[in-house]
Every structure is written in structure tokens, then in C-alpha cells.
């Protein structure tokens, strides 16, 4: 049972979200985090938004190498190969 004095506020919770998702919270802190989430709709939405953000980031196209940069690097490679 988590007493009132031990409860996280919403403002404290948002600062722990990354530690929570990275599985870096000490056990006791993790329980307080999950206790808060189970009773707070707004923080549940916040956590979901962070998850959605991460998922969207994972679907962004990665920067790709420009053809000019690739050509220059391959020329450098040929120069190196010739020693």
C-alpha cells in the first residue's frame, strides 16, 4: 500500500517517464510510478503519448547518404587502395 505522503505528483511523474521506459527505476520508485499511472488518466495519456512519439520516430526515414558524398568517399577509397 502506498500512502499519500509517498505518492508521486503528476509533475514528478513526467520526469521519470524515460527512466521507467528504460527500466532504470529502483523497484520502490517503479511501484510508485505504476501506482500513480493506475489511478491517473491524464498521466496514462501522457505516457501513451511518449510511447506514440517513440513509435513514430522509429518510422521516420533515416537520413541517407547523398550520391555526391558517396562518390567522393568511393574515390577516396580507390586512392587508399592504390596506396
Amino acid at each position: 500500500m502506498i500512502t499519500d505522503a509517498e505518492q508521486l505528483s503528476c509533475q514528478e511523474l513526467v520526469e521519470l517517464v524515460t527512466d521507467y521506459l528504460e527500466d532504470a527505476l529502483p523497484e520502490e520508485e517503479r511501484l510508485r510510478f505504476e501506482d500513480h499511472i493506475s489511478r491517473c488518466g491524464a498521466c496514462t495519456i501522457y505516457l501513451e503519448q511518449i510511447r506514440e512519439t517513440i513509435s513514430l520516430l522509429g518510422h521516420l526515414p533515416e537520413d541517407s547518404l547523398s550520391p555526391e558524398a558517396e562518390r567522393e568517399l568511393l574515390e577516396a577509397f580507390q586512392g587508399w587502395k592504390r596506396g
Binding site: S9, C10, Q11, E12, V14, E15, V17, T18, D19, E22, A24, G41, A42, C43, I45, Y46, E48, Q49, I50, E52, T53, I54, L56, L57, G58, H59, L60, E62, D63, S64, L65, A69, E70, E72, L73, L74, A76, F77, Q78, W80, K81
Partner: protein
């Protein structure tokens, strides 16, 4: 194990002067190298130069590479050394505090005015302005993706490098720590700030779009 075997094969091909192996490596890492270089040098052009110089360092060192770290970590160490040397040469101060000790400068994940006062008699630190669920169709829109890319671009270079490697490219925290020479805590602080800001930017955009 499969990864180690693949790396050994790649390494052998590089040492045999196989151009296709070099091309594969360059395609995989060059954009990340440029992004990380931007932590140290002021412009994209300078970062491209640092990345190009890194590849020369990789080629010149490949016969001596002993495999004590992963190939990726080794490549990023070469990059960091070149970028730092260049920053010193150009008389730039390294963003030392930003990279080495981000926790020294506190930053809130969510604006303090979104919450009730910490001294509030009944609901201290509770949401005053609650987040609203995001409409799924808007999330999937191409414009949302553009906003996301803009939000990343607007981040400080260290946060941008960490979130790009972790969340866009899917590296593990250990891989990012090794490549950027960050402590576990600092990697997490930088990731936290970056994700919080990108979420806030998305929220701002989706709220606007929804009204």
C-alpha cells in the same frame, strides 16, 4: 553471435580492399557520423568534412584494428577524436557541460504552468491543463511526420544525436553510450529531454490541427 560473424566478414572484406564492403559501411554509418559530428562543429558542411576525414582514418587504421571494441564503436571514436581536434583548432569551446553533465542544467519535461502549484492544498503538482489523447489518423499523416523531423532538427545537437540514434535508428543505449562516450545517466537525461520536447512539439501541432 550472428552480428559478430557479420562484422568479422565485413572486416575481412575491407582488409581485402573490397569496395562493396566499404560502400555498405559508408551507407550505414555516414549519416549518423554527420549527426554526431554536429555536436562538435558549427555547421553541417564542417560536420560532413569531419565525417569524410573519419572514413580516411578508418581506412588507414583498418589493418591495425584489433577488434577490442565493435567496429561501430571504433569508427565513432575516430570521429570524436577528429571532431574534437578540429573544434580546438578552430578555437571553439566544446559543449563540455552539455555532453558531460547535462543534469547540471535542469529542464522541465512539461512546462511548469501546465501543473497546479506544488503547494496546492488539495492537488499539489497535479495537471492543471491535462494532455488529451491524440487522434490516430492525424498521427499517421505525412504532415505530422514533417513536424516530427522539424522538432528533432530544433533540438540542441547532443539531444538530437541521442534521440536520432536511439529512436530513429534503433540503437541500444549501450551502443549510443559507447559511440558518444556518455555515462548511462547522461545518455538517459539527454534522451529524456529530447523525447519530452518532441512530444511537446507534436502536442502543440495536433492541438492546433484539431481545433
Amino acid at each position: 553471435m550472428a552480428e559478430v560473424a557479420a562484422e568479422d566478414k565485413l572486416l575481412a572484406a575491407l582488409r581485402a580492399r573490397d569496395e562493396s564492403a566499404f560502400r555498405a559501411l559508408v551507407r550505414e554509418y555516414h549519416p549518423s557520423l554527420v549527426r554526431v559530428a554536429r555536436i562538435y562543429v558549427p555547421t553541417r558542411a564542417a560536420a560532413e568534412d569531419v565525417a569524410a576525414e573519419t572514413w580516411l582514418g578508418v581506412l588507414n587504421g583498418i589493418d591495425r584494428f584489433e577488434g577490442r571494441s565493435s567496429l561501430r564503436t571504433w569508427i565513432f571514436r575516430i570521429l570524436t577524436n577528429i571532431a574534437k581536434t578540429r573544434a580546438v583548432r578552430d578555437g571553439r569551446t566544446l559543449p563540455f557541460s552539455a555532453l558531460a553533465d547535462p543534469a547540471r542544467v535542469p529542464e522541465a519535461a512539461v512546462d511548469a504552468d501546465r501543473f497546479l502549484d506544488p503547494e496546492h492544498p488539495r492537488w499539489p503538482g497535479h495537471w492543471a491543463l491535462k494532455p488529451e489523447p491524440w487522434p490516430e489518423d492525424a498521427l499517421l499523416a505525412a504532415e505530422t511526420r514533417e513536424r516530427l523531423a522539424e522538432a528533432i532538427e530544433a533540438l540542441p545537437a547532443t539531444q538530437r544525436a541521442v534521440i536520432s540514434l536511439r529512436d530513429v535508428e534503433g540503437w541500444s543505449s549501450e551502443e549510443v553510450r559507447n559511440a558518444l562516450d556518455l555515462s548511462e545517466t547522461n545518455q538517459r537525461v539527454l534522451l529524456h529531454r529530447a523525447r519530452s520536447k518532441v512530444r511537446a512539439a507534436l502536442e502543440e501541432y495536433l492541438n492546433e490541427a484539431g481545433t
